[in-house]
């Protein structure tokens, strides 16, 4: 079983905490009162997505998590599983609703997503930073408004709802930043 020492800690290191893989977001070395050194880490649990802070005594060891990140193209959703494919080996991977979570609303066929696996099972899906989706529902809005004062909600093909400028009409394709859920521009 591979282990890491506290001196191996760095951003992105993945290790097991309470039987769940987690990834280090931030870490710092502290030595309160010139005594024993500790490592304070902020981690994200990779299955639940929860963030938490944790303190280790310097020199402690943790169990490495068998976590991999692979790039796969999104194929389709059969109602139970989301199917992805490695475009080089054509190997297919299926991720369940729990692993996909809120990301489902950003999945566009053929887009390359990052699938996080733990012991070879998908536990999380990260969409591309930008996706292009068609507007299927929105208020007609005012013609001539170009700056979008406040904007209006628009529903996209995947069910995602984003605020768009008033001039955007049903049937148009918009570019959205998946990290913030914000409208970036109109795709012509």
């Amino acid at each position: 079983m591979a282990t890491y020492k506290t001196s191996d800690f760095k951003g992105g290191l993945k290790f097991m905490l309470d039987n769940e893989p987690c990834s280090i977001i931030e870490h710092d070395h502290v030595k309160p009162g010139k005594g024993q050194a500790f490592h304070r880490v902020k981690v994200r649990r990779l299955v639940s997505g929860k963030m938490l802070e944790k303190t280790f005594k310097s020199g402690e060891t943790v169990e490495a998590a068998d976590v991999m990140e692979i790039e796969l193209a999104y194929l389709y959703n059969d109602g139970e599983y989301f199917h992805f494919m490695n475009n080089e080996s054509f190997e297919q991977v299926e991720a369940d609703v729990k692993a996909v979570g809120d990301t489902a609303k950003w999945l566009v066929e053929q887009d390359i997503c990052v699938i996080t696996t733990w012991n070879d099972n998908p536990i999380a899906v990260t969409p591309p930073n930008f996706v292009e989706l068609e507007v299927v529902e929105t208020d007609p809005g005012l013609k001539g408004d170009t700056q979008g004062t406040g904007g209006k909600p628009a529903t996209l093909t995947t069910g995602a709802v984003v605020r768009v400028p008033l001039f955007i009409q049903i049937g148009e394709v918009v570019k959205v930043d998946t990290r913030t859920g914000e409208y970036v521009g109109r795709v012509k």
Partner: protein, 324 residues
Amino acid sequence: MSEFNWQPSASFTALRARANVLNVIREFFAQRDVLEVDTPALSQAAVTDVHLAAFSTLFVGPGYSQGLPLYLQTSPEFHMKRLLAAGSGCIYQMSKSFRNEEAGRHHNPEFTMLEWYRIGFDHFQLMDEMSELLTLVLGSGKEQRFTYQNAFKQFLQLDPLTASMDELRQAAKPYGVYDVLEHEPDRDTILQLLFYVGVESQIGQDVPCFIYDFPASQAALARISHKDERVAERFEVYFKGIELANGFHELADAPEQLRRFKADNDKRKTMDLPEQPIDYHLIDALTAGFPDCAGVALGIDRLVMLATDANSLDEVIAFPTPRA
């Protein structure tokens, strides 16, 4: 490593502020007739403290064909105390100190330390002088002061000198650090982490905070108080989440100093740490006669962080170790 790592991590604005802080400090001590000294970075002896790791190297040259082990100093304290015993009078030094195994937002393996000693001062008088220096460099207001005991009582509702080990561990629960202390046998380690999570974040946010009269078990090189043998005449300075300085009414008792060094080495053996060569020059100096004095060490890089509102040492050190 990025292709930009040849460049300094600190801005020139920060480096100018740093130079200015050094000038202000030199002027401060010149006005008080405190002598600037320069002592070795390499010594044949090393600190015994179990929580300090010294870098070591080997001198090979005339007279030392087999090699002479040398240790980079973790602080200039031992050499400066030999100067004091030899009759230097009040002295200060700004120099590099070196500590292995330390790196982080507030730690770099090599750093600049200001250390000064005042003959005839106790730790209270030295705290007064520290206050003047901080006001001058940082423009900070009048500091808060708490004894270690009162700080615990106020912020953790706990007496650090009398609480049971179990009470101390229970107090860690609200701070999410119970698990790391659950099986911790060392009382001081528990106290130190409790102080960090429960006290440090509550003190010294607007003005510096001086904590004094540490538990005798954390005396390091400070005297035990005559008034209360449970505490040592040691103080620390905290400001905006940074541990800035550590001072002592200096231990002048040679046999007691030797006993503490040996006790450290005994503890090192139980922890599988290398025993360190005791500085017998220091013991001899104390035996010859050591003036009543107080001394303090202050991290210059951390002081510059505070002077420039920096978040990490990288912003005030030209080339931190990853770029060195």
